[in-house]
């Protein structure tokens, strides 16, 4: 699944309460230790195997080294390499993971620029269990099609 600039409103609002998947992997990219921990715990509750990266460059380097993830949660504002640059670079490398942007309360223009970098979806921090469940439902649907 490649980035298609879909907005968050295009997700089907299906409850993800019972989604537990032991095969999916996720990468949490955020310079905040707090957000890394929170998203890590949230995703592990759904049975995902999770790795974390403290900025976009670390994330890109992981992919360069051959790592792959079903889901990438990408913070926007990070030192060294921000989320916009990292997303562009990952898509240019041919990465087809679901990349979900996570932002603070930005203006619509800033979120649009982030989406155009190649995100599949973009949400405000923090991601709620409901949103994570819906994202995993979408991931499972796409994995079944492949």
């Amino acid at each position: 699944m490649s980035g298609n600039g879909a907005s968050s409103s295009s997700l089907n609002m299906i409850s993800g309460e019972d989604v537990v998947n032991n095969n999916l992997t996720a990468l949490v990219v955020d310079d905040s230790p707090l957000l890394r921990l929170l998203h890590d715990i949230h995703l592990k509750k759904y049975g995902l195997k999770v790795q974390v990266a403290e900025n976009g460059k670390v994330a890109v380097d992981l992919f360069h080294l051959g790592a792959s993830f079903d889901l990438v949660l990408m913070d926007k504002e990070m030192p060294v390499m921000n989320g916009v640059e990292a997303t562009k670079e990952l898509r240019a490398m041919g990465v087809t993971s679901m990349i979900v942007g996570v932002t603070s309360k930005d203006g619509p223009g800033e979120q649009q620029a982030f989406m155009e970098a190649g995100l599949d979806y973009c949400f405000e921090k923090p991601l709620t269990p409901e949103i994570i469940g819906i994202l995993l439902e979408e991931l499972n649907k796409h994995n079944k099609k492949d």
Partner: protein
Amino acid sequence: MLGLAADRLRADMNRLLSFLFHQGILDEQFLQLQQLQDETSPNFVSEVVNIYFHESEKLLRNLRSLLMDREFSDYNKMGIHLNQFMGSSSSIGAKRIRNVCLAFRAASDQNNRAGCLSALEVLEHEYCFLKNKLHELFQIQQQRVLAAGVRYPMQH
């Protein structure tokens, strides 16, 4: 007697939480944090909140340092710190702090130094208030655990 102590502490805890929600100091995101706590991560909430305290104090120092500089003009840098503070505050449900950050960011976007200073004062005050209340909450929770533990001594 000990059962009554645990019940009284639970009532104190619920009263404090109600106050914090009713006053708009915390929002439902804090409840989401509590729901993530279980037997595999029994101190999850206090660990997360302690990380939040550590990050927040660093950000507050950075913001004050920027504004105290007579030649300060890097509002972009201030915006980055504020975005971080907003993100982490939203994540633990610190609703009032997040709202103050929004007002602070509005002043920063207008390059309004006086407005930023005023907002920083409010932010520091709100942060201290929240920190004290959360410490109080964790103390009550600890006492509750101890009271419950004494109530059920091990049988040898």
